[in-house]
Amino acid sequence: MSAGQTRSLWSDRTISVLSPLVLLGLWEICARTGIVDVRFFPAPSNIIGHLFELASSGALWRHVGASLYRLAAGFVVGCVPAIVIGLAIGLYRPVRAAFDPLISATYPIPKSSLLPLILLIFGLGESSKIAMVAIGVFYPVVINTAAGVRQIAPIFLDVGRNFGASRFNMFRTVALPGALPLIMTGIKLGAGMGLVLIAIAEMVGAKQGLGYMIWNAWELFDVQTMYVGLFVIAIIGFVMNAGFDALERAIVPWRKG
């Protein structure tokens, strides 16, 4: 099946590349034929043209750089405790009992409404933005990690106990690798959430970043620039996802397929 698998991988790639292109193509056609209102939904070709303009002027890179830095910092700050707490919730019932209600109650609190309070606590600088990203990353990762641990077949926990795994080794050798595929899913969800929240955070007191760029473009009714911002976020999301997929393949070599 080696040849066949290569072929099907190849055709998967093709589909992966084609499906967004088809959608963009449809949009382009709709825009050109006037089916959609180009004042609000400009043609992709138009947006991409503008993207190159902004990129060559360097303005875009500043925004992207600022957002990526905040994203990376917030990701680390949110992800690491989320995995540790998630593993503990999954492994130990009292921890679960203590954290579950807190998480389920605080998770749905609208982050946009919290922004003023976060500003109060973290100030207007970078830390408030990083905190927003961290909050966004935290919840999906912690919830998925706990769910991941709970779906580990009980026999593996038995093996760990029987072979004398310490509490730490129970985390490291059983819960973490067993939950890893789901932790990765949580991380993908969390990173996307982080991107969403960075855009909200950058609407306040920021002078650069994609969120600022998009919001500012809305304020100035610069629709093209707004779309460039959304487009760049989509690309970042896509690339991040592909990166996490590659990472997953690298650190989950035991998984079939």
């Binding site: 026999i155 593996f156 038995d158 093996v159 106990r161 029987n162 072979f163 004398g164 795994a165 310490s166 080794n169 050798t173 059983v174 690798p177 067993g178 890893l180 989950v252 070599p253 035991w254 079939k256």
Partner: protein, 276 residues
């Protein structure tokens, strides 16, 4: 011989020394269903103790309690302290129990790694047992790349390598061909004779039970009780292949086989809603 038997009544038992494992009125319920019913039992140190019984009679349930993985619903289990430097017990689980995220080598080395044994020692011991189980060549593979029998062999290597005080083995050779099985019988007997571990061994093969065991406990169907405990007074060291030709061997096999047959028939006829 359906009365629960304690050590004192057993011929050839080590009455003098304190038992390694002692169960007193151990009862286990899963939800409301009774799985084991008042098991009272002493297993002297260095005994090769075999458990046979019809499918679903509670053998695995018993072994899991000996391993400390489940607690009895009633009664108590006492296990004598283990020798220094050895873990108390290691289990060969029934069915798949290899970590899918570890290679064959890492799975086999798991117990030693957890005990922080020096790497050189791990390499030596794990290498030895992977070799003995014929899995050395596959040491870099992951479990999903192995056949069922290969996985079982790694699981055996993992328990052997851990060098525990008590070896708990739940149908360890069920997925192996006769030849691999014979080789591992010999290895197991060698380990046992060298180290005099206490072994509790579950099997469905009466041949295997008689070949390996000092005592064979036959369990009743339904809620598991002790039907009888049969001492095996075949001389040691035993040669697996030759043994089978001695008349004492055949008699024992037939005796246990008949006891078991009785239990299965009883279980089948008692089956609720049976249409048979």
């Amino acid at each position: 011989m359906t009365v629960p038997t304690t050590t004192a009544e057993l011929p050839g038992g080590g009455q003098a020394s304190a038992p390694k494992i002692s169960l007193r009125d151990v009862t286990k319920r899963h939800d409301t269903q009774l799985a084991l019913d008042r098991i009272t039992l002493d297993i002297p140190v260095s005994t090769f103790f075999v458990v046979v019984g019809p499918s679903g009679c509670g053998k695995t349930t018993l072994l899991r309690m000996l391993a400390g993985l489940d607690a009895p619903s009633e009664g108590r289990i006492d296990i004598a302290n283990s020798q220094p430097g050895h873990p108390q017990n290691s289990m060969v689980f029934q069915g798949d129990s290899l970590f899918p995220w570890m290679t064959v080598w890492d799975n086999a080395a798991y117990g030693l790694t957890m005990r922080k044994v020096p790497k050189a020692r791990i390499d030596e011991v794990v290498g030895h047992y992977l070799n003995k189980t014929g899995m050395y060549g596959a040491r870099t593979l992951y479990p999903h790349q192995l056949s069922g029998g290969m996985r079982q062999r790694v699981s055996i290597a993992r328990a052997f390598a851990n060098d525990p005080d008590i070896l708990l083995m739940d149908e360890p050779f069920s997925a192996l061909d006769e030849q691999n099985k014979t080789l591992l019988h010999e290895e197991l007997l060698r380990i046992w004779e060298e180290t005099r571990k206490t072994v509790v061994f579950i099997t469905h093969s009466v041949d295997e039970a008689v070949t390996l065991g000092d005592r064979i406990m036959v369990m009743t169907a339904g809620p598991g009780r002790i039907k009888t405990i049969v001492p095996v007074n075949l001389p040691r060291p035993r040669k697996v292949v030759e043994l089978r030709h001695t008349p004492a061997y055949g008699e024992l096999v037939y005796d246990i086989w008949a006891q078991l047959r009785e239990e299965v028939d009883r279980a089948r006829s008692r089956e609720p809603g049976s249409k048979a």
